[in-house]
Amino acid sequence: MTLSAMGVRVGMLFAVAAALLAACSDSRTQIRIVGSSTVFPFTTAVAENFNRNNPEYPAPIVEATGTGGGIKLFCSGLGSRFPDVANASRRMKPGELADCEKNGARDIVEVKVGIDGVVLVQRKGGTPLNLTLRDVYLALAAEPFGRKQTARTWQDVNPALPATRIEVIGPPPTSGTRDAFNELYMAAGCDTDPAMQALKKSDESRHKTICNKIREDGAFVEAGENDNLIVQKLGANPAAVGVLGFSFLERNMDTLRDVPIDGVPATYATISDFSYPASRPLYIYVKAQHVKAIRGLRQFLDEYTSERAWGPGGYLQRRGLVPAPDGVRAENRARAAALTPLTAADLA
């Protein structure tokens, strides 16, 4: 008797819990965005302006997961459980697009939102460095040009550099900034040696190991998926060099300065005309199939691709985004308006 009374109470409790579960399995109404922490500050700014201008739509949810993690979530399927938009600080890989298609997300629209520089920065007050791509590669590769890594100080790499310890704080492999760093610094520095270019033709996987693998003996520190943390760590350590998106340098000009690469300083001008060796475009990816289902997604795209957002003098530029050239903006605006899907041929 006592136990059955207890059972009734416990049963009622589970009924309440079940009702709670049922209440929240309703489909989602707000835009959900995941992806790169580099694009995050721009997308949040757009999301906020979108919400102010269109209060009839629920505010978008933006989460910084890193480009790799974000695209993985984005490509896991179609429907309200999966994000509508992915921020990316590098282009989607053909394999990722294939994943998307395999999981049913077929019409992916690619929008190039602007340009960012992957910059090397250091704290003001430290010994100023002036590096070349080759210096960076030699200092950070696991096997520089196939030899054992022995460099301890920048002077070991290049006698013209100061004898400070090599200490670089950068993002982890899930980050698009890391992918861009590998491509723009490591691979580019590696290919300054003609022997490596020859190796690329003869043994591509060996070339990839030599050129892209970063040393793991403590000279390169992974700071997690959080660029602000890198800024804070640099503030505490004048000898360290950080790898960041240009917008983070732009917003911390009072404490940080850029390390010129091949003699070119990182500025809006050098990044937008690609004379800075490490400029890269930033992207957002949108599921065209979600545009009908998710209210406001179309208007969100309109806001992102408006001149007052991503154009010269727009509010994204005030946050450190380098606007893309006029032609590129027009082309991407047209693509976002027509929801032209990305094809595997585009990525090849």
């Binding site: 008797m1 006592t2 309440v16 700014a45 209060p55």
Partner: protein, 429 residues
């Protein structure tokens, strides 16, 4: 026996050896008291240090710098007349207030001056929506200043530093001085901070969204963990047979209470999000996850409270013919309730301060709107503090401390409630 005592010489309290012993005993007592006092002073000192640093850097979060701008609500610029606006408020809501604000600021302070916040045009819209007859007139309005002007006015910027070494430009400092001299600058209570949600601009960021998210999460936690925890404790104490199984359960519960919270976050991610497909970032999921975490604490506290009820009360009730369930619900539970409530509220206070499990289930997303329901995406107050503390923008420094002050006040309220309830229901025997 008494003879043996009387044969012994009486203690000579005046003797040298006895006096020395007494002195030593007193010295020991004084030493212990001093040590205790030192520990207390140290603890209070740290608390004061924490409070002082948080309050000194955070109180300015509740103050907002505003700039006086003569705003001309030009019907042509807005694209809507007063009559149209009265007939159709939707038209007015879509009007170009941003352009009107830019025009008015440029007219008042010249071109290129960035003095008012990007979002200050919302104030214009609010004013015009409330009173459409403003259209076509000019009105002096106090608009929210940019974060840089705000920080200058609050004296948080080192003016001695060279221009490249500080976050504000010389032009901004000159503009700030000019505004101050003309009386076009004032400090007012920061309503946005207490009523708004997160923003990319520190001057527009608020804690209400996060506070409400925390509140919704805690309600779910309380609704689930309190009844389940109390029922489990009653069953284990009053009904369960003592055998190996109940021993295993007891050890497991004690173990669970010590499991790091991030593990519960991973569990929540695996069970509620990936298996049950519940919405990411929702307070209901946060609440369920925190309920799992709080449950063992409530079970342990409730069992202790039930154990503290004297057996004589049970015996008396059984003796006059009450059933076991009647004994529990008529006598034991009311007497154990104060202890259970105290344990529950302490558990809830811990849940309120928890960040790690909420990060795992996506409650760290950027949200500019206040959550409206249990299944709506939300953040929680400690997560908001974590997100702001990461932000390098100088304006967020004071907002972080301001949010900590709000969190501490919330905790203080919860703990006061715990003390009040305990005193109200406490029974002495």
């Amino acid at each position: 026996m008494t003879e043996a005592v009387s044969n012994e010489a009486p203690t000579d309290w005046a003797s040298e050896a006895m006096q020395a012993r007494i002195r030593r005993r007193y010295a020991q007592e004084r030493g212990f008291k001093a040590l205790g006092l030192l520990a207390l002073t140290l603890a209070c000192g740290f608390l004061l240090l924490l409070m002082a640093s948080v309050i000194s850097s955070g109180w300015t979060a509740f103050v907002q710098t505003q700039v006086r701008v003569p705003v001309t609500f030009d019907a042509g610029e807005l694209g809507v007349t007063a009559e149209q606006a009265k007939a159709n408020p939707e038209l007015l809501r879509r009007a170009d207030f941003e352009g009107v604000m830019q025009q008015s600021v440029t007219r008042a302070f010249g071109n290129g001056a960035v003095l008012v916040s990007d979002g200050a045009w919302l104030q214009l819209r609010e004013a015009a929506m409330a009173d459409p007859s403003l259209i076509g007139t000019t009105k002096d309005m106090w608009l929210i200043a940019t974060s840089n002007i705000d920080q200058l006015a609050k004296g948080r910027i080192d003016l001695q530093a060279a221009e490249g070494d500080r976050p504000v430009t010389d032009a901004e400092i000159a503009a700030w001085r000019k505004l101050g001299a003309a009386g076009d600058l004032r400090k007012a209570f920061n309503r946005t901070f207490l009523t708004g949600a997160d923003s990319v601009d520190p001057e527009l960021a608020g804690v209400w969204g996060a506070l409400k998210g925390s509140f919704l999460t805690l309600i779910v936690t309380l609704l689930i963990s309190f009844p389940v925890g109390v029922l489990a404790a009653i069953y284990l104490e009053e009904f369960a047979p003592k055998n190996r199984w109940t021993d295993v359960i007891e050890v497991s519960i004690n173990n669970l209470a010590a499991v790091p919270s991030i593990i519960f976050g991973l569990l929540g991610l695996a069970v509620f999000l990936n298996f049950l497909n519940m919405p990411r970032s929702a307070p209901v999921v946060g609440g369920l996850t925190l309920a799992l975490m709080t449950l063992p604490v409530i079970v342990i506290a409730s069992r202790a409270a039930i154990k503290a009820v004297p057996p004589s009360i049970r015996d008396a009730a059984l003796g006059i013919g009450a059933s076991r369930v009647q004994v529990v619900f008529h006598h034991v539970l009311p007497l154990a309730l104060p202890g259970m409530l105290t344990g529950t509220i302490l558990g809830m206070a811990r849940a309120l301060g928890e960040t790690a499990p909420l990060l795992m289930i996506g409650m760290r997303a950027f949200l500019t709107s206040v959550p409206q329901g249990l299944a709506q995406p939300a953040t929680a107050l400690p997560v908001q503090i974590f997100i702001w503390s990461d932000n390098v923008s100088r304006g967020f420094l004071e907002k972080t401390s301001g949010a900590i002050i709000v969190l501490m006040l919330f905790l203080l309220a919860i703990n006061s409630l715990a003390i009040y309830l305990r005193n109200k229901f406490e029974v002495r025997w």
